[in-house]
């Protein structure tokens, strides 16, 4: 401030300013105001302007931050709004199953998803079974491979190898799911059929392998982070007691980081349930109630993807699809919440 004053006053030669009667009195003036007053005033308006600017910017940034909350809420509202309508258009019991006539004209209770036609059947049981029939084997496969990769990255690999391997695993996560689905459809399905002699070429197992390609990187990367957060003293103590490297990993490091590993598996499962393009291309899309992983299934995601494009808006099938979407959203929401709680608890524990 002081420097500013000097600079300006030297530029404004006092005697050059018209109407400057008191130039000789030693007080520098501009017009009839003292220069120091002008500067103080402009400084004041500057500060005020700056404060307003700061305030506006903070509010703008706040709006950006709020967007995440707003959109999560909107997703909730708009999914459930359309989904709830389904209960008014379709009897609630029909979401479990309906009575149909079998071949011998007996009335039997069956769970079927056949939304097209006069009397659409909207049992969501086969869809939920289908989703889990893909997600559970996928989670199993990718837990084994993902945790193995995570242990290798965190504990076994040297720093140099790690720097190469970790990005490669991330690259696997970067492959578009439609590409993986395409390769499952064209190549993997044939391999699986030839080696397991399955009746259906496209089945839940093919989809599960495809989906595990997507969630292995998730599990590997979070497991790696969790194990690396385990303090080194634990390892040193274990080595000091004469344990081998594997014993240290398996009996000390993994139990210490188990919450992170669990969280990664839950997150992976959420991903597996929500995966769309792979299952729509590779699981055959037949809504069957079955426990056989080698049969064709139809998942919740695949049902939405295959049917929403062709239904009239506001109809009972349209609302039923939104209901399926709401259920899916609810399941993944709960899984994410659980995983997040586990992770935050782990963070707290490790900080202590």
């Amino acid at each position: 401030m002081n420097m500013n004053y000097n600079l300006q006053s030297s530029n404004l030669k006092a005697s050059n300013i018209p109407g400057n009667a008191s130039a000789k009195e030693g007080v520098k003036r501009f017009g009839d105001k003292r220069i120091s007053d002008i500067l103080v005033e402009s400084r004041k308006t500057n500060v005020r302007r700056q404060r307003i600017q700061e305030f506006i910017i903070e509010k703008l940034l706040f709006v950006g931050g709020l967007a995440a909350i707003v959109f999560i809420a909107l997703i909730f509202i708009f999914l459930f709004k359309e989904g709830i309508k389904a209960f008014f258009l379709i009897k609630p019991l029909e979401f479990i199953g309906t009575h149909i006539l079998d071949f011998d004209d007996n009335r039997v209770f069956a769970c079927m998803w056949q939304p097209v036609g006069e009397s659409g059947k909207y049992s969501i049981i086969p869809l939920i079974i289908g989703s889990f029939l893909v997600a559970l084997p996928a989670t199993l496969i990718s837990t084994i491979l993902g945790v193995g990769c995570g242990i290798y990255l965190a504990e076994i690999a040297t720093a140099k190898i790690r720097e190469g391997v970790k990005p490669a695993i991330e690259l696997l996560a970067g492959i578009p799911t439609v590409v993986i689905g395409f390769l499952c459809l064209t190549i993997l399905a044939t391999y699986v059929q030839n080696s397991f002699h399955t009746t259906f070429r496209l089945n839940a197992f093919v989809g599960a392998i495809g989906v595990s390609m997507v969630i292995i990187p998730v599990i590997a990367s979070i497991t790696d982070d969790a194990l690396r957060a385990v303090p080194g003293e634990l390892r040193e103590a274990s080595y000091g007691l004469g344990a081998t490297k594997w014993e240290t990993i398996w009996k000390v490091v993994v139990p210490a980081g188990i919450s992170g590993v669990t969280a990664s598996i839950i997150l992976g499962m959420g991903r597996a349930l929500g995966e769309t393009m792979i299952v729509v291309m590779a699981t055959g899309n037949a809504a069957l109630v079955t426990g056989n992983v080698f049969s064709s299934v139809r998942t919740m995601t695949a049902t939405i993807a295959a049917e929403l494009g062709a239904v009239p808006q506001g109809g009972s099938q349209y609302c039923a699809l939104f209901l399926v979407g709401s259920i899916l959203f609810f399941i993944t929401f709960v899984l994410n919440l659980v995983a997040e709680m586990i992770i935050s608890r782990m963070r707290k524990k490790l900080r202590l």
């Binding site: 076994i156 899984l335 997040e340």
Partner: protein
């Protein structure tokens, strides 16, 4: 004897973990090699620059490439400002307070929402609620209230928002606190510190997040299935400004997209077996695009880390 057994165990399980990592990497390489050799044969300038002909059994995929670029550009325009603003707000303005925790939790949940649910939301909110609402207010018959590129881009923007926020937040957090303190000590206001000190330092990290989200958005299919993607479109989604004749992207038109093109060609086209080479070619273009983006992120990161050291 026991020691020998333990040593064998040790070697075996360490080898097993190595084997698993090796297996996963080789799967990645196998995918890339398979797609490369399947698609390299059909990639010609004509394939990249021409329209599909004869019911999509021949010709090129230019409209799909163009559509992918258009939608990615629109998505980035929508997602980047909001994402960066949210990240700045989270790191610089509200730390571990209640609001910050709620925002973080919703970002995490947004990241975990299945992509098909975003598609449903795009239909229910963007097209039917916002689009139809705008039509009604403005008196259009049907301009916004249908599946168009604008809504597809908005849906994708929502999908990549958590990616941008999380990577930007990481970048901002990696700027040393001492720099901020020095700036504050000189009398700078909060926004001056953010704009002149923190953002320039975090620039490359933010760029990384942007590239990552582009690659994610370009490869995603499920959210755009019902929000504006077209099976086949004879024209490009472009409109020319009258008098000056400058072509610009028309966000109120449908578009073709690489990922959707692969999906539709592989499952619902008229002659699936005969168009296999085209499918592989399209896959190679898409994988090439996303792979190069991802690779550039990785190289960028390594380079940046070295410079920081």
């Amino acid at each position: 004897m026991i020691i020998k057994k333990r040593k064998i165990f040790n070697a075996f399980f360490q080898g097993l973990c190595f084997g698993m990592a090796f297996f996963v990497i080789s799967v990645l390489i196998a995918i890339l090699v398979r797609v490369f050799f399947g698609g390299a044969g059909v990639i010609t300038p004509g394939f990249l620059l021409k329209k599909p002909i004869e019911g999509m059994t021949a010709g090129g995929i230019f409209p799909a490439i163009f559509g992918t670029i258009c939608i990615t550009v629109l998505m980035i325009i929508m997602a980047i400002p909001a994402g960066i603003a949210a990240a700045i707000y989270l790191t610089e303005y509200t730390g571990k307070e209640f609001l910050g925790r709620v925002i973080r939790a919703s970002i995490n949940n947004l990241a975990g929402v299945p992509s098909i649910v975003f598609g449903l939301f795009g239909v229910g909110f963007f097209i039917l609620f916002v689009g139809r609402g705008v039509d009604r207010i403005m008196g259009f018959s049907l301009a916004f209230g249908q599946p168009v590129m604008l809504w597809a881009a908005a849906t994708l923007a929502l999908l990549v928002l958590p990616v941008i926020i999380v990577t930007t937040e990481e970048a901002l957090n990696s700027v040393p606190v001492s720099l901020r303190e020095a700036a504050f000590a000189l009398g700078a206001t909060k926004w001056q510190v953010v704009r002149n000190v923190v953002l320039p330092q975090a620039r490359s990290g933010i760029l990384t997040g942007a590239i990552l989200s582009i690659s994610r958005g370009a490869g995603e299919t499920a959210p755009i299935l019902f929000t504006g993607c077209a099976y086949f479109l004879p024209r490009l989604p472009v409109f020319t400004i009258p008098y000056v004749h400058i072509p610009v992207i028309n966000p109120l038109d449908q578009f073709m997209c690489l990922s959707y093109h692969i999906f539709i060609m592989a499952t619902q086209s008229t002659n699936i077996e005969a168009t296999r080479p085209i499918q592989y070619g399209t896959t190679l273009v898409l994988i090439g695009l996303t792979f190069l983006l991802n690779l550039s992120v990785i190289i960028f990161r390594i380079y940046f880390r070295k410079r920081q050291r």
